[in-house]
Symmetry: C2
Subunit: 384 residues, 2 copies
């Protein structure tokens, strides 16, 4: 199997599993318990918090563990709105993850006003449009660091600076960026940042929200005093330990993402562009995650293509896994101004540190052949 869908989810690193296993076995204490078994769990959670803070360049106390990127996103928006209930305006973009879009749509139904920033054909927003959109009653600007479908990177430092100048809280959904691009929160005026463990070789079901120590925060999950009274609920000790270990490994492998993984992605992309006629890259090709390529392939339907490639052992996707199964074409590619047909013919390949040069070589043999077959089929010609 060739797994080229690391933006959907990643394989748990065996070292991460090794770190978490004791907490699924003998170290089962509740971190809130006062006896040694509990204290050991609490220490492990504290260590993981420091490891993750190390990756992000923030204080451990600024890390709040959550259950998924969606919860982190929801919690950030909720906190910003609760902090200043008189501010009823939110700015976001048309290419965000559904965790932001669905929340913003729900707020719109409750009387909030949403400014939906558009993107150009490269997938980039207009910073002047952002500047003009900020108002005195803007409760939050929420813009993603890296797009999950195209890998396009928004200029987060510039966006954060614009928000700082206008004293408007800024949240970034960095679920696809953390572990793939350098992030140093000590140098950026960001209030909230979301990340998710399963995008960086930790298990599913654990994530985090960075909350700047100067930002007002109100808990999203109301209950016990866990996470410094910022999130009720017994700590997911084993998975939190896993996220800490994964963060430390991500820091070690960060340069590799930008050398080895980038070279593999570039070779795959270049090879497909050269061997398949009628292929185009979606999104600004330079201002992009090093591991992702989104390609639109003329004359194919991506859903069919995915199943055919699966039969040949290649895992990739048509866009976000979170919205797969829906018949709607990608909202990201539509927002970039592409036709429904182009959106329906898109494939995303997202690589990771477990991929090899041999896999890319194999994929470059398999994919063009299968594209040709699917094109023949859709032209009514029986494939051999």
């Amino acid at each position: 199997m060739i797994y080229f869908d690391n933006n959907a989810t990643t394989k748990v690193d065996p070292k991460v599993l090794e770190a978490m296993l004791p907490f699924l076995q003998e170290q089962y204490g509740n971190p809130s318990s006062v006896y040694r078994l509990g204290k050991a769990a609490a220490h492990a959670v504290a260590r993981a918090r420091a490891q993750l803070a190390g990756l992000l360049g923030c204080e451990p106390s600024e890390i709040l563990f959550t259950s998924c990127g969606t919860e982190s996103d929801n919690a950030a928006i909720s906190a910003a709105l609760t902090a200043d209930p008189d501010r009823k305006h939110l700015i976001t973009s048309k290419v965000e993850h559904s965790a932001i879009i669905k929340h913003a749509e729900a707020l719109a139904r409750r009387g909030y006003e949403i400014t939906w920033l558009g993107v150009d054909q490269n997938g980039l927003i207009d910073l002047q449009e952002l500047q003009r959109a900020i108002r005195p009653d803007t409760a939050l600007v929420s813009l993603m660091w890296a797009n999950n479908e195209t890998g396009v990177l928004f200029p987060i430092a510039e966006i954060a600076e614009i928000c700082r100048e206008r004293q408007t809280p800024f949240h970034t959904d960095a679920v696809q960026a953390v572990g793939k691009v350098p992030i140093d929160l000590s140098r950026l005026p960001i209030q909230f940042l979301s990340l998710s463990g399963h995008k960086l070789h930790a298990p599913k079901g654990v994530a985090a929200l960075y909350v700047n120590r100067r930002a007002k925060f109100f808990p999203f999950l109301l209950g016990g005093g866990q996470e410094g009274k910022r999130r009720g609920g017994t700590e997911n000790t084993a998975s939190i330990v896993a996220l800490g270990a994964a963060a430390e490994l991500a820091a070690e492998h960060l340069s590799e993402e930008n050398t080895t993984v980038r070279r593999l992605r570039d070779r795959l992309e270049k090879g497909l562009l050269e061997t398949i006629p009628g292929v185009a890259v979606n999104g600004q090709p330079r201002q992009r995650l090093p591991n992702t390529t989104s390609l639109s392939i003329e004359g194919i339907d991506s859903e069919t293509m995915l199943l055919v490639l699966d039969q040949r052992g290649i895992c990739c996707s048509a866009g976000s896994a979170c919205t797969s199964g829906s018949l709607e074409p990608s909202h990201v590619l539509k927002a970039m101004g592409f036709s429904t047909e182009r959106a329906r013919g898109s494939l995303r390949f997202s690589l990771g540190r477990f991929n090899t040069a041999e896999e890319v070589t194999q994929a470059l043999q398999i994919i063009p052949r299968e594209v040709a077959k699917v094109r023949q089929l859709s032209n009514g010609v029986l494939a051999v």
Copy 2:
């Protein structure tokens, strides 16, 4: 080590770990992905849903996986309030878990009216008081199935029937009841029921909310279309598989909870009552979980006692782990009308299927001796 704190958290059953491990290794697909690796994860989640439904006597489609009991509780309240925004009244009790109490307090600050039902010295509510409290604008009655501190069981069938007659939605926090007492939701008019994996030998970080198929529901986490569009967020596959396996094991061991575990608890309780002067059981002794005993011991401070017992290898608690560390005496015991002194001298022992008769024998040797020492110390007499 003798672990008598199973209401705080439980050891993951080795069979549960075995079931979940493949999903932390090679079976790492995103359940939303269309290729086989993803489908395998989706099938595993579906199987776990059926296993949990089997334990509860409901339909698999009525199970919604969440990240913790607190999220389940918060989601149930939030759904009920969203379903009928004109109803601004909530009924709950003074002895609920903080996931309910803190949420209700936050709602009170937002203009909701909360009726806080009191309890008698046995820890039981007055059903006539409940009946009188229900109003046309009552959005939800939320009452726990089993109290986490005393183990006292509310008469859920009668409460559910009262709510049904008055057409008022009913939620029960059954986090401490599931796996310990028989539950058959096919026979009970309950709209929402919360449970948590780590209370029944699954890992921390996975839980569920039962949503009756006729109940109106609105997602608490807004995002992708996971969980039948009822909870955004990539599924915590490995832990969901674990919860399914734990539910199946809980069904198999249910009679054991009410025979073996109950006998161990009864012997421990009886032994401590007989050997330590000035001990009283907190809560209705018959209408109680089979595994729990809450004892108030004159002349001791429970925090000191916990540390002393920890030194002797016994893990137990003063009350809820979620509120430990706070200096407040137990809100449950205070609500039962006990003095602060009695509340501060309480210890909770909660047993489970991994406890043995030998452990109870040892505990009955250790605890009376250590209580005597602590009493001597607090009387200013140096312990030997």
